[in-house]
């Protein structure tokens, strides 16, 4: 197995000195939203955000190294339950690396090394007694490029259940998952057709159905819409908002409008694998505390 694809994120070393950290504390004085107001708050207003949600994932001083290169620096954050948490930042800032730390996909890379703690439901997932396979059965993942298996649509959705040895009620679970992923009406007559015959957007929704079929606690999404056209993207975004009623969703995106539209919390990573700001999406986009975050969001950089 080659490592190239797995390590594209988090390897780039960038020069941080170009940004003036002295102006960090200078928040935008008049509180004007930096991104179009109508887009940024619409999503979060409609869904009444629970005031005091429980934390399901918490990282404490997380460092990740690929060989000699440090990909994440001392990241500490708390991800609330049943909300959408978005991670934004320029390429190579470590946001995908952080995502892959949560379900220990970085274990598949020989040279990756993780220090610090990452708690899932109060348990450090890097404890020696944690089986990454068992962990991944609780934390589903959707990838950047739709990657359905070259099997039938049905077999794709049933894959996770069959891994766990479930053989009963497969039909029902497959139907429910496809309905939740808003794909059922399009494929209900062709469940035995190859998943590769679907369009890109349908394939990505199939991957989401595959991930939620096993009823995970958390759904990780690594730029799930970046390979899709705008219509497919908007379908995926609607879907994510619906899914957040049942699942904790953590999403990495390059698209700031997307983060503003769909997320409740936003984490901004900047070059060097540093978590610069983590707050409610609204305050990040309207009134960021950090000057570098403001520069990034307004497009002055990145």
């Amino acid at each position: 197995m080659t490592n190239e694809e797995l390590t594209t994120d988090g390897r780039t070393e960038s020069d941080e000195s170009t940004y003036d950290s002295a102006s960090d504390a200078n928040a935008d004085p008049d509180g004007e939203p930096l991104v179009e107001q109508s887009i940024s708050v619409e999503g979060s207003d409609e869904r009444s955000t629970p005031t005091n949600p429980e934390t399901v994932i918490e990282s404490r001083g997380l460092d990740v190294f690929y060989g000699e290169t440090q990909a994440l620096q001392d990241v500490s954050m708390e991800i609330p339950e049943k909300q959408v948490t978005a991670m934004i930042g320029p390429s190579g800032c470590g946001k995908s690396t952080f995502l892959r730390c949560i379900n220990r996909m970085n274990d598949l890379i020989d040279i990756a090394r993780v220090e610090g703690e990452l708690l899932f439901e109060g348990k450090n997932v890097y404890d020696p007694d944690v089986d990454p396979v068992a962990l991944r059965r609780r934390i589903g993942m959707v990838f950047q490029h739709p990657n359905p298996f070259p099997k039938s649509i049905y077999d794709n959705v049933a894959y996770g259940l069959r891994l766990r040895g479930h053989t009963e009620d497969l039909d029902q679970v497959v139907e429910d998952s496809l309905k939740k992923a808003a794909l059922w009406d399009e494929v209900k007559d062709q469940l035995q057709k190859s998943a590769l015959d679907l369009s890109g957007g349908q394939q990505q929704r199939l991957c989401i159905a595959r991930a939620i079929a096993v009823d995970p606690a958390v759904l990780l999404m690594d730029e799930p819409a970046s390979a899709l056209d705008p219509i497919a993207t908007s379908k995926i975004e609607d879907l994510i908002e619906e899914l957040a009623e049942e699942y904790t969703v953590v999403i990495v995106t390059h698209n700031m409008q997307q983060a503003a539209r769909i997320s409740d919390k936003t984490a901004v990573f900047l070059t060097g694998g540093e978590l610069v700001e983590f707050d409610d999406t609204e305050s990040i986009f309207e009134n960021p505390a950090n000057q570098r975050v403001e520069d990034y969001i307004t497009g002055k950089f990145g």
């Binding site: 490592n3 059965r137 589903g140 990838f143 990657n147 359905p148 479930h166 057709k193």
Partner: protein, 570 residues
């Protein structure tokens, strides 16, 4: 007005950009390739002319077959190629399926007729296999979570059902090794296997019924499942039931209708199972889909042309060519008189050796490739070791075959005291020879599976083994099979290792078991090449070469078709 033509300098009309070297290289390569291919073709034609002696026939014979066979076949081929490519594929398939089926049927008929396996044993084997598969499936259903127990059942059930703890051959080899090592222990523990239990039942069904149950039922069930998967719209049970029912009914006609037509019931059942039923299923699918129906005419034209030509030739009394490669050649043993010389024992021996080669090289080679690609570490000290191993596998692929023969002689004959020149030693030695090639081609096939599929599977909480088995292997299998078939095809032409392990030049008896003397096609051809009689050196030898080449071409053709088919589906 635009600038006059003469002044355009960048267009290169003045020849400022020289393409001479490229042109020389291009035509040089073209010439070299054409020359090489042409000389091989001429050699093969020369050998084929020796084998068939076409010029001994009447011109009328050639003319008749040209009109009845060549013209319609070539005509339809051109038409398919130009106008209707799907029909061309159908034509190849409808011709290829029965031919491959007939080859399989012939192989099994030979196995049954030389009593390598009796019908009752085949039946017992099928029953034992079916029961062990049933036990595994039942265990998976009722205790889905007991993973370790499943592993025990997965290995234990077939071993107990088929062999009763361990096969005698394995026990024998292990005991021989133990004796060599002066160990005081010997393997003796055996229980009666289900297979033997079935054999000891006093009232077994009639032989033909056993054959139908042992061969036709599984083949038809497999085909039925295949068809049912293709046709998601219908109830799969009905489809499987129809295929199995039809096949069983057609096969069961054999013992009643066969004797009246002068056909052996065993031959009837085997031909129906391997040729007629698959062809029927395929043709039914073509007619239903209405895709490439004109292709069905091709085999009809071919067979009809041969029959019509034969009738006409008989009618006008044209003499056929005095060919060396005929039915008599394929079915008799070597003789000093060229007219009686035959190739039967080497064909059987080579096929049996091929089985040993495949059984020896495929599991080990694919297992090694899976380890190297999926499990072995990429970095650190382990990674360096793996790189070293991979480099050396590449080197082993280049070790001369005669050296592998020497290895076989030392390892299997001297150390393990297997009989010299036997089928098993030949197969194992050549299996070692192709092992590096199998490993390398399987590695290539595994590497071609996109990493995104592995990630998706791991992300779902699959273990490495589940990912390999459910995602990686199914996708890599066509590539692995293609590589293995090509390697085995290469292997059965190997002569040098056979010389080293002491294979006899001419064996007058087809081998009856894997420890018998090995007659192999290339070894026999080599022996004929030094024969004093020119008829044997030129005629009989040429017929043997053509047979060997045809076997290789059939295997390579199968490999190509398998690969193309799976590539299109993926």
């Amino acid at each position: 007005m635009a600038t006059p033509k003469e002044t355009i300098e960048w267009a290169g009309e003045t020849g400022t950009v020289s393409q001479l070297r490229g042109e020389v290289f291009k035509y040089g390569c073209l010439g070299a390739v054409s020359f090489a291919l042409l000389s091989v073709l001429v050699l093969l034609l020369y050998v084929a002319a020796d084998a068939f002696q076409p010029f001994t026939a009447d011109p009328g014979w050639h003319l008749t077959f040209f009109v009845t066979l060549v013209v319609p076949v070539v005509g339809t081929s051109v038409w398919y190629y130009r106008r209707d490519e799907p029909a061309g594929e159908v034509a190849i398939a409808t011709l290829g399926i029965p031919i491959i089926g007939l080859l399989l049927a012939a192989a099994l008929a030979v196995v049954l007729s030389i009593e390598l396996v009796s019908v009752a044993e085949l039946f017992a084997l099928t029953v034992a296999t079916a029961v062990s598969v049933g036990v595994i499936v039942a265990h998976a259903r009722f205790r889905p979570r007991a993973a370790f127990e499943r592993l025990v059942v997965l290995v234990g059930a077939p071993v107990v059902a088929l062999f009763g703890i361990l096969p005698e051959e394995v026990t024998m080899v292990v005991n021989i090794t133990l004796r060599q090592l002066d160990a005081p222990v010997r393997l003796t523990t055996r229980v009666v296997s289900l297979r033997e239990l079935v054999l000891s039942v006093p009232y077994l069904p009639l032989p033909w019924l056993m054959l139908v149950l042992a061969v036709t039922l599984p083949v038809a069930a497999g085909l039925g499942v295949l068809v049912a998967r293709r046709r998601a719209s219908e109830d799969s049970r009905t489809v499987i039931g129809m295929v199995v029912g039809g096949a069983l009914a057609l096969a069961s006609l054999g013992p009643f209708v066969g004797p009246a037509l002068g056909i052996d019931p065993v031959v009837w059942i085997l031909v129906v199972t391997f040729s007629v039923v698959p062809l029927g299923v395929y043709v039914e699918g073509i007619v239903r889909r209405q895709d490439g129906v004109p292709g069905l005419a091709f085999p009809v034209l071919l067979v009809g042309g041969i029959l019509l030509g034969a009738v006409l030739v008989e009618q006008f009394g044209f003499a056929p060519p005095d060919t060396w490669l005929d039915w008599q050649f394929l079915t008799s043993v070597h003789s000093r008189t060229p007219e009686d010389a035959g190739f039967y024992p080497p064909i059987v021996g080579s096929v049996m050796m091929m089985i040993v080669i495949a059984l020896a090289a495929f599991p080990v080679g694919v297992g090694a490739a899976i380890y190297l690609e999926e499990y072995a570490p990429d970095s650190g000290l382990g990674g360096k070791f793996v790189t070293l191993v991979e480099i050396n596998i590449g080197n082993l692929a280049g070790v001369p075959s005669v050296v592998y023969g020497l290895l076989g002689l030392a390892l299997f004959i001297r150390i393990l005291t297997m009989p010299a020149g036997s089928v098993i030693v030949g197969g194992l030695a050549i299996g070692l020879l192709i092992l590096p090639i199998v490993i390398i081609s399987a590695q290539e096939a595994l590497r071609a599976v996109p990493d995104s599929h592995r990630e998706a599977s791991y992300g779902m909480g699959a273990t490495r083994w589940q990912t390999t088995r459910n995602v990686v292997l199914p996708q890599a299998m066509p590539g692995i099979l293609t590589g293995t078939i090509l390697a085995v095809g290469r292997a059965i032409g190997e002569t040098a290792p056979l010389l080293m392990i002491g294979a006899a030049s001419s064996v007058r008896l087809a081998p009856n078991g894997f420890f018998d003397q090995l007659p192999a096609m290339p070894r026999q051809i080599y022996a004929w090449s030094t024969n004093l009689q020119p008829e044997i050196r030129h005629g009989v030898l040429a017929a043997g070469v053509v047979t060997l080449v045809v076997v290789l071409l059939v295997m390579n053709g199968t490999a190509i078709i398998v690969r193309n088919k799976f590539q299109r589906e993926a």
